[in-house]
Symmetry: C3
Amino acid sequence: MEGIFTTLLDLIGTFAFAISGIRLASGKQVDWFGAYIIGLVTAIGGGTARDLLLDVPPFWMTDSKYFITTGIALLATLLFKEKLFRWHNTLFLFDAIGLGLFTIVGISKSIEAGLPFWVCIVMGAITGTLGGVIRDVLLNEVPLLLRKDIYALACVAGGVVYFACIQLKLSASLTELIAALTVILVRVIALRFHIHLPVLNSIKTNSGREVDQV
Amino acid sequence: MEGIFTTLLDLIGTFAFAISGIRLASGKQVDWFGAYIIGLVTAIGGGTARDLLLDVPPFWMTDSKYFITTGIALLATLLFKEKLFRWHNTLFLFDAIGLGLFTIVGISKSIEAGLPFWVCIVMGAITGTLGGVIRDVLLNEVPLLLRKDIYALACVAGGVVYFACIQLKLSASLTELIAALTVILVRVIALRFHIHLPVLNSIKTNSGREVDQV
Amino acid sequence: MEGIFTTLLDLIGTFAFAISGIRLASGKQVDWFGAYIIGLVTAIGGGTARDLLLDVPPFWMTDSKYFITTGIALLATLLFKEKLFRWHNTLFLFDAIGLGLFTIVGISKSIEAGLPFWVCIVMGAITGTLGGVIRDVLLNEVPLLLRKDIYALACVAGGVVYFACIQLKLSASLTELIAALTVILVRVIALRFHIHLPVLNSIKTNSGREVDQV
């Protein structure tokens, strides 16, 4: 995943994730610097958790581009806030591209660390989604991830396709491309056709007694 | 803590913790996959934090049984939801067994890492309780841990008994058994006799000025 | 930052951070042990995150004084609760001193780890502020950090001054003193003169459609 094209996708993903954090922060009585912090943790939170679990140095420590890109995202929000919402579909696509790329980066890094394939898929999903979870926790909301299933499941689907391609002995670049596209397509199709998993209903008791107090 | 018996207790603890997460997730507009994730972090969150602090690879990376057990817990919830609440006391006992076992595992792993005894007790409590804390934070509730004291205190009691047994030169197996039973008994007795620590009341000011803004 | 004077400042900072956690926990239906836990994570949370990111053992594992100081803070709250609010300005100063010291400790430790200067500043800010963020998340509030900008910005200002002093070839002690004073002064001046960054307003849409759902 090296080269100019990957760097560009990485920056687009970071920008889209940062924007999604900053947008959610707006209207929550958060100031500019707080919005920057929310944008930053949305963009780098997943990869940081992955690197801690893999016991390697956090990726952002050796490259300032993630901090700078988040700063540009904040600036763009402040300057073009009124127009930003018109880019809604574009931003959704950016976010899906970021999700796809971040998932694949997480899987690749985990394979390098010698982990079994199912752990790699989990690490890919963590890389793609945990930033958004931290964003939601900081803004005091139940994480979107838990409610909009096809988010984390898209990462899992991409991971399964990744290892299917490896079994088929496809080249590394092709494998990564197909897997990233899978994540993106699952996201787009699920949103377009309103595909959701069922919601887990609560457990009623005869006595009305609280049953989840354990 | 090796052997078939320990593995069985470990699976029971994981299952009970996963169920407690899934039950709390139900009725929160969380879908099936979200419920699975909540169950999973409840079951493996404490041990993952412990392993990060000890700088060893997270325990679940080398053994898929925790992910599979959580899947079975979700399946059981979906199939037998209506009956699950009747198992309330059974599940409470499972949860207490899990707490006892997880606490002891945390202490053992920390002793192996050469940490002082009081750090081992803290690590045991983290292993036993942090999964539930993450569960509550994700579901946007003030952690039960902070309100139902005898949860974390039970882990501390078990840890103190653990090191008392070592001082008395009891065998490793006997020490672990007695310490785990202590955690379980403290939990059961506290719940049975409604034993709680006092609640910390808020600080009133003459002027009505907010004092905790620092 | 060695010596009796530093140890004293470290204890004052720990005490002030613990008190700020315990005070915020009061009136939230949290019991004594829960309040202790909140006080503890407020005091040691930032440094623990820093040490995990630096991949060094958490600082509190080799020194029980942070746990003991938090215990004393809880005891002081229970005994002198009615009088504590009169110390409001004193406690604010303690908290600012703690913030300054913790930030400088974070920067020093990161320099020792060989990180670039801007990462060191980020690590200083994390050390100073993350404990308060965890406190707020556990108590189910949007972190103060996000709303009261001059908190994290004060750490950044201190960090910039730190590296400016190094460029000027000032001695290590003088550098640390000036940088810590910068953090404290920025905090005090911002509070005294009600200096805030602007709040980020929400993005309105023509259609009223939710735009931050990505």
